[in-house]
Symmetry: C2
């Protein structure tokens, strides 16, 4: 792991670390840390906090995981902090329905699912997984008061999102002010040299620097990555927005979703979601040098390759071409038996073509659902199709109905 021979030259390391980062702050401190690390043969400790409440890892969540992997390949140690303790509380105000309180077993299960997924990206021999309950659970009220006494309300409301919400009268629960403190304290406990996070985390990463300085530690360096929009081209990719690509989704799904990305997103997706060299990325996003359709195919292949390997990527590309370029029904279709006539909305949910009745209705209303060549427009319509009829949702999801 360590040893003078083990670490590449600092400039080479910096170049790798900078890829995709919107900010490395302060970069001169990182250079000094890297130099000292090389001179003494001591790996840096690179922290990433993860939230076990959303166990499906998306390409967006995976961006900092791949950055951790890069640090590992450079010889450093990835310190992944699982926020198990805070997940148990959820959103005590009850306003954020996406953060219900979880019991210990649920948190453990989510955390394990999460770690299984990122375990396929990270090198286990340079990975330290810590749960924040380890140091937060023993803290009592006076400890929290002391922690809180390190910051002021004004400092906290400097955080962009808090500031905006406060100005606009959108409620900020008091407990939300405590999360940055916990995250900052994590950095002290694990003695982080570097912390990774999205632009929405920048403030919290700075709290870590403050606390480390107060505790006489050298402050961590921030490596900030952008929040990459999802397949809709607008909102940050997330499971709850339905605009995500999951790292465990099958090759065909990943490929198809990547092909549906708006052209404007190509540069970001190529830079952040693939390991294609930046020179190649430049060629791909230049319509004078690459046909956009070809570029998108290379993007989709590069994504699938990362998670499923080159062979799966090629197969997904071939299948995609067959279905969509040749407008054919895929060679192998999933099938389902319909015992009796059924409402369209029920059918879609029952066979996982929609994740909820609400989504099912939306899909139908948006005109994305076909039976054979007929567009279906009424979610409440009762279907009684002949054996072998093909139900299609969007461009890529098919179900052959057997009677």
């Amino acid at each position: 792991v360590s040893g003078r021979a083990g670490f590449p030259p600092v400039e080479e390391q910096l170049e790798r670390i900078r890829r995709g980062a919107v900010e490395v702050f302060p970069e001169d401190e990182l250079a000094r840390k890297l130099e000292r690390s090389r001179a003494t043969g001591t790996p840096l400790r690179v922290k990433l906090g993860v939230d076990p409440t959303a166990p499906d890892v998306t390409l967006g969540n995976a961006v900092p995981i791949w950055k951790l992997r890069a640090f590992q390949e450079l010889g450093h140690v990835a310190v992944m902090i699982v926020g198990d303790y805070t997940a148990r509380v959820g959103d005590p105000s009850g306003r954020n329905k996406l953060r219900p309180p979880l019991d210990g077993a649920q948190v453990d299960a989510f955390a394990q699912t999460y770690l299984d997924q990122v375990g396929q990206i990270l090198l286990p021999e340079r990975l330290e997984v810590r749960r924040n309950g380890e140091w937060l659970a023993p803290m009592v009220f006076t400890d929290v008061l002391r922690l809180a006494g390190r910051m002021t309300v004004a400092q906290m409301l400097e955080r962009d999102d808090f500031q905006a919400r406060y100005r606009e009268g959108v409620p900020i629960s008091l407990h939300e002010l405590l999360y940055p403190l916990m995250q900052g304290w994590d950095s002290v406990v694990v003695r982080a040299d570097v912390e990774l996070g999205g632009t929405d985390q920048r403030f919290n990463l700075l709290v870590g620097r403050d606390f480390q300085r107060q505790e006489g530690q050298e402050p961590q360096v921030l490596v900030v990555n952008p929040l990459v929009p999802g397949t809709d081209g607008e909102k940050k990719m997330s499971k709850s927005q339905g605009n995500y690509v999951g790292v465990t989704e099958p090759p065909g799904e990943q490929f198809g979703k990547a092909m549906s990305v708006p052209d404007a997103l190509m540069p970001m997706w190529l830079e952040h979601f693939t390991d294609l060299p930046l020179e190649r990325v430049e060629e791909l996003v230049d319509p004078g040098r690459t046909h956009p359709r070809e570029a998108k195919e290379e993007l989709a292949k590069a994504i699938v390759r990362r998670y499923w390997g080159a062979q799966a990527a090629d197969a997904a590309a071939a299948e995609f071409r067959r279905v969509f370029s040749e407008r054919q029904v895929p060679s192998e279709l999933p099938e389902a038996r319909m015992a009796a006539p059924a409402k369209l909305v029920d059918l879609l949910v029952e066979h996982d073509l929609a994740s909820s009745r609400g989504e099912a209705r939306r899909l139908v209303q948006q005109g994305g659902v076909h039976l054979g060549d007929d567009r279906l427009t009424d979610p409440e319509q009762v279907l009684d199709p002949p054996d072998g009829a093909v139900l299609r949702v969007g461009k890529r999801r098919f179900l052959r109905l057997r009677r």
Copy 2:
């Protein structure tokens, strides 16, 4: 304690409770509580939170204590909450030098001193003393998060002093936002029917109402008393401002300080610091009916009488008249032996004529220190007076120096 015969009529109780209160909120709720209390023979639980970090009880601190006593005399139970748990933290930001962190022994000692003093005012058989550590100490981080989730930042910044400080850029430490939550939770735990507090506590008392409502309890009624200015006629009476009268100060001190009060304060001091009937107070503050000097003497006597009895009050009045009306040195002077020449500032501090070197310097610079008839102007001056010389500070503090 209880029993239908034990509680006076509601209107009579209300009148007694209203004395000196700037607000009884909501008064109709209090009337209903009192009616039910009478009907069922159940005393109300009247809460007062006290801070054991300032163990010298002043006339100002004693205002709500006397109100508790009034409730006791009406048949109700005084629930005094000693903030022992929070006293241990002090001000973790370190900005408030008046709130150093205290260790358990110090807190216990302060709390005991405090209780000894208020014990002379309250009826022990209707007094319940609780320490907030009883329920706050077992709380862990997630409990604090849940408590914090009950309030928003905006609600918290509605508090007058927070709002003003936030606007003026005066730092508000995050931990300060947690104190109102703790105080509010206290009300839930002790099931308070009424909470007493100064106008600066109004917001915190309302938090208690919210929390009780959330927990399915009937919310407490607020009895809010004004912050009465100290002897300087300007700032709230407090030990740290040096403008206080302590409830344990000797009769002569109390009397003299009361006589020095600006005329404008007479109505407030008479209403809040004495038990003189309000009709008598009206006579006293009307210069057409009472000479101001006579009114002030009655104020001073009424104060001393409360804490030391009628005889001590009369004696203090007589002594005061002898010394100041007749411009004589008091008959009995405290004496001190000066082994060697000494600096004025040291002398003042050593013999308790000033509480600190800073105060000693201020007293000299303000022209309040005399040796015999000579005004002393240099705090660093070395004194080498003859045996029997009298050092005087202000109008009322004397020390005969023996060589």
